[in-house]
Each structure stands twice: as structure tokens, then as C-alpha cells.
């Protein structure tokens, strides 16, 4: 979903750049307060995983492929604001090292593939923690819905920016982008759930919204009753 230079007009590139810079700037401030010794390497590893997984295009319908975005995964593992930092590292490296995604479109790409999905998933997780039971199945279900939604929202934002730039009519690009990304989002959900389940099995304490350490609690209760 990387927008190259030439797809967006200057106004849209500037506006998305300003919004992305503000969001990531705030993300950096938040990350500065919340990062600790264990999450510093985790941020790097998450960025590396997102970069690697983004290279692995998978086929979807009719001569089209899709690839992982990773905003949802980063948001579940590190929180939404730190996730914006992770995705801006990845997308910036892709633009400057690999000529993937434009330079003037960098802000739009960080917004579409990082900020929007991360904040949407962050909001969804927060809501789920308040109203849904803290269970592994619930967390993974919310992760799946969040990952799919992050791709759809990113695709919608991309379509709106292309239409606002006069590149393609709104009525053409919105259904086209949402149609193909509804399929790609399923891949995103599958990869995100797999990765979150793996971390959940190894280190549930790292994930906000993970079920409490149920076995220990249950054990204590049994001992007290006996």
C-alpha cells in the first residue's frame, strides 16, 4: 500500500505530512515516558519483524498480492503510540533504502500504514478491556478484528487522499481499494493473531490486556480453600 511520489498533489502530501509528523512526534514523547530496558530492544525487534513480514507478499484474488502492514501487531505488543514510532522507522527505511513508497508521500504512507491502524487498534483494545472479559480468546479475537480494520482504514485513507489529489475519482477508488484490501486484511489478521499468540504463550505479561496470570491465582484460591 506504499504510495509512490506522483500519486498525491502537493496540498495532500503536505497535509498528510503535517498530521503524520504531529502524531509520530507525540508518539515519540509518549514512548519516551513508557519505554524501559525491556521494551527498548522489543521496539527494534518489532520493527524488524514488521519490515521482514512486509516483504512477504502473499497472493490474493486474480494476479494481485497483498502484504502485512504491522500497525496492529505493533499496537498490541507495544501500545498504539509506540507503534506509530515503529511503523515510521519501517516506512522511512523502505522509502530511503529500498525506493519503496515516495519521499514526498512519506507522511501519507506513515499515516495510512502506521498511525491510523495503530490508533484504531489502540482504541479498540481499550474499549475491549473495559467491556469484554479478559480471556485469551477475547484478546485474539479483538486482535483479528483490529488487524483487519487497520488495513481497511488505511486503504480508505489512501483512497481518500488519491481522490483529494484529483488522481482518480472518489467513486472509483474507494470501492476498488476497500474490495481488494478486505482480502488482504484477512492475511493481516492471520499473521497478527499468530504473532500475538506466540508472544502471549511465551510472555503474556508483555501484552496489555492479556488475561491475568490465571493459573497462579487459581492455585492460591485452592490452597486457601483447602
Amino acid at each position: 500500500m506504499h504510495i509512490p511520489d506522483g500519486f498525491l498533489d502537493n496540498d495532500v502530501a503536505l497535509a498528510t505530512g503535517v498530521i503524520a509528523a504531529a502524531a509520530v512526534g507525540y508518539g515519540v514523547r509518549r514512548a519516551g515516558r513508557t519505554l524501559d530496558e525491556r521494551t527498548v530492544p522489543l521496539l527494534g525487534v518489532t520493527a524488524a519483524f514488521v519490515f521482514a513480514a512486509q516483504m512477504l507478499n502473499f497472493p490474493v484474488a486474480g494476479g494481485t498480492s497483498g502484504h502485512f502492514l504491522g500497525a496492529a501487531l505493533a499496537a498490541v505488543l507495544l501500545g498504539p503510540w509506540t507503534a506509530t514510532v515503529v511503523l515510521s522507522v519501517v516506512v522511512t527505511a523502505q522509502a530511503f533504502m529500498f525506493a519503496d513508497g515516495g519521499i514526498t508521500a512519506l507522511g501519507a504512507n506513515i499515516l495510512n500504514m502506521g498511525v491510523i491502524g495503530a490508533l484504531a487498534v489502540g482504541g479498540l483494545m481499550l474499549a475491549a478491556r473495559r467491556i469484554l472479559p479478559r480471556r485469551r480468546s477475547v484478546l485474539l479475537g479483538v486482535t483479528a478484528v483490529g488487524a483487519w480494520s487497520a488495513v481497511m482504514l488505511g486503504a480508505l485513507a489512501t483512497a481518500l487522499q488519491l481522490a483529494a489529489s484529483g488522481t482518480v475519482p472518489l467513486g472509483t477508488v474507494v470501492p476498488a481499494m476497500l474490495g481488494v484490501h478486505a482480502l488482504i486484511g484477512i492475511g493481516e489478521a492471520a499473521i497478527t493473531v499468530t504473532a500475538v499468540a506466540a508472544v502471549l504463550a511465551a510472555r503474556p505479561d508483555l501484552i496489555a490486556g492479556a488475561p491475568p496470570a490465571a493459573p497462579a491465582v487459581r492455585h492460591t484460591a485452592i490452597v486457601q480453600e483447602a
Binding site: M1, G6, G32, V45, A52, R203
Partner: protein, 108 residues
């Protein structure tokens, strides 16, 4: 499952990332992605161009330069790129943490 230390988790995660990018990326689907497909189908794919800064990209289009074998070039690009992003990410996170811990600015 027994809980693993953060260092082990990070090492395993980094190894999976580098391994995937190196060994699997040469076999990834090469058809256009969602946006590229829409751009081709609705007729604006031709608007895309490289920025002048990208004319000298170190690894253009995920193909390590100077290597004739396409799969090897892609795998090497994945290896170098993932390690690069890993190190940049850790360095940036360490820097952000150091700046963030300084008692300057507002605290809420």
C-alpha cells in the same frame, strides 16, 4: 509454556524476522499489491515516479545491487534491511528513552 526472558524473546524474534526476510522473501508473490492493482485497473499507475533522492537508493526495489541471481539479490536485501531496521529501531528507542527520562518539559 515456560516463560522466557525478554532477551531470549528478542533474540528469537529477531532470528525469525531475519530468517523470514532472507529465506522466504525470494519466494514471495511478485504480482502487484492492492494499491498497485487499483492503480493499474483505474489508470493512474503511470503517475508514479521515483523521487530524485531515490535515484541513488542503496537497494532499489529490494534487489541487492550487483547480484545477477534475482532470488539471491532479494534474500540479501531482506537480510541487510531487517538487520538495519533492527539496529535503527533499537538505537532510536534507546535515544527516545534517554531523552524522555530527562526531567525536561511537562510531565503528566
Amino acid at each position: 509454556m515456560r516463560r522466557v526472558s525478554t532477551n531470549v524473546l528478542c533474540a528469537v524474534g529477531a532470528a525469525i524476522a531475519v530468517g523470514m526476510a532472507t529465506a522466504l522473501s525470494p519466494f514471495a508473490a511478485s504480482s502487484p499489491d492492492g494499491l498497485e492493482r487499483v492503480a493499474e485497473d483505474t489508470g493512474f499507475a503511470g503517475d508514479g515516479r521515483l523521487h530524485e533522492l531515490q535515484a541513488s537508493s542503496p537497494v532499489p526495489d529490494y534487489a541487492f545491487p550487483g547480484i545477477a541471481d534475482e532470488r539471491l539479490a532479494t534474500g540479501l536485501a531482506g537480510f541487510v534491511g531487517t538487520l538495519g531496521v533492527l539496529l535503527c529501531g533499537i538505537a532510536l528507542a534507546a535515544l527516545i528513552r534517554r531523552i524522555g527520562r530527562r526531567p525536561v518539559g511537562a510531565s503528566t
